[in-house]
């Protein structure tokens, strides 16, 4: 069980995690308690008041009441509290500014129609840095190991070839 000080620290993180998860519920099914982030904030505000009043940040020992309500608050956080505590203890992930992560835009979908039978080097010229993330030949979805994009061509691997007039639907992303 985290200490009163730790619960105080992780509370805003847990609320953000809960809020994000409830937002995901819009796409992936409503969460059992969509009001949880609000309920957590209501309790946090009350406990935070007492935390400051008792001068815990200054090193004072929490009263029995504050310990009780803090533990109660932590139980309200549920799994979000556990995740927040983990983030707090491990420090989370700090990107290295000397090698920033490349950020891509939204996927773009396009279709290439083969001109002749037997094509496997498809002249698809994508923007610099583009990455093909999906390919579907006719109705068959290709594995990522079955194609490679080598500008300016998308090359089908493993003996896969196109038939004339057959469509290859592909999705790619471009660095922003």
């Amino acid at each position: 069980m985290p200490t009163v000080q730790e619960i105080h620290t992780i509370a805003p993180i847990a609320i953000v995690l809960a809020s994000n998860d409830v937002s995901n519920g819009t796409l992936f099914g409503a969460r059992p308690n969509p009001n949880l982030p609000i309920q957590l904030e209501l309790i946090r505000y009350a406990v935070d008041y007492r935390y400051n009043l008792e001068g815990i940040a200054g090193g004072a020992t929490p009263s029995a009441s504050l310990t009780l309500t803090s533990n109660y608050f932590y139980s309200w956080m549920g799994s979000y509290g556990s995740k927040a505590y983990h983030l707090y203890v491990t420090g989370g992930i700090i990107p290295n500014p000397s090698s920033p992560t490349i950020v891509y835009g939204l996927p773009i979908t396009d279709v290439y129609t083969a001109l002749v039978d037997g094509e496997f080097t498809l002249p698809i010229n994508l923007p610099i840095g583009a990455k093909v993330i999906f390919a579907q030949k006719g109705a068959a979805i290709l594995l990522s190991s079955q194609y490679v994009y080598n500008s300016p061509n998308l090359i089908l691997l493993g003996g896969i070839i196109m038939s004339a007039t057959e469509d290859l639907t592909y999705e790619y992303v471009v660095p922003i």
């Binding site: 009350a46 009780l68 309500t69």
Partner: protein
């Protein structure tokens, strides 16, 4: 060194009715022999402890701080301190707008404490809305006074919170 008037304000832990003032002025002015404290409400009336017949509270110059037992509920107050000469005339004056919300904040905390002790029903349909109303009243009072310097809005929010606190059986 020239006299520069100043003071700080605090509420008392466990006794929200008491306001503590501490004189933090710097410098010296030999003409100062007394201090007067005015607690001015949003209605421009003066708040004083029970039994006080003047509109102000006398703060003896020999005391660095004073505890004033005047609050019966949460209030937004303009606190004015006058540093006076022998004739009672103000030589220096300073006013600080402050919000005192310990009554309602204590009540808000007590609700959580009761829940933690299993004394309150979380299944009440009023739980979320009533708690939210109190939360908004508390935040509103603080923001109105500290960010917007509005004693009127601050007191209005304090009174909303007080109404919830005094009629708890209807809301919680």
């Amino acid at each position: 060194m020239a006299f520069v008037q100043n003071f700080t304000i605090a509420q008392t832990l466990g006794n929200p009715g008491i306001i503590n003032l501490t004189d933090t002025s710097t410098g010296v002015d030999a003409a100062i022999v007394g201090r007067k404290v005015y607690l001015i409400t949003n209605a421009s009336t003066y708040l004083v402890p029970t039994g006080t017949t003047t509109s102000y509270i006398t703060w003896l110059i020999g005391n660095a701080s004073i505890a004033i037992d005047a609050l019966k509920k949460d209030q937004s107050l303009n606190i004015r301190v006058d540093w006076t000469d022998a004739g009672g005339v103000a030589l220096y004056s300073k006013t600080i707008l402050s919000n005192f919300e310990m009554y309602n904040s204590d009540f808000n905390y007590q609700l959580v404490n009761d829940e933690a002790n299993g004394l309150a029903s979380l299944n009440s349909p009023n739980w979320l809305m009533s708690r939210m109303k109190l939360y908004v009243a508390l935040r509103d009072a603080t923001v109105s006074v500290t960010d917007m310097s509005s004693i009127t809005n601050g007191q209005s929010a304090n009174d909303r919170g007080t109404s919830l606190r005094l009629n708890l059986n209807n809301f919680y």
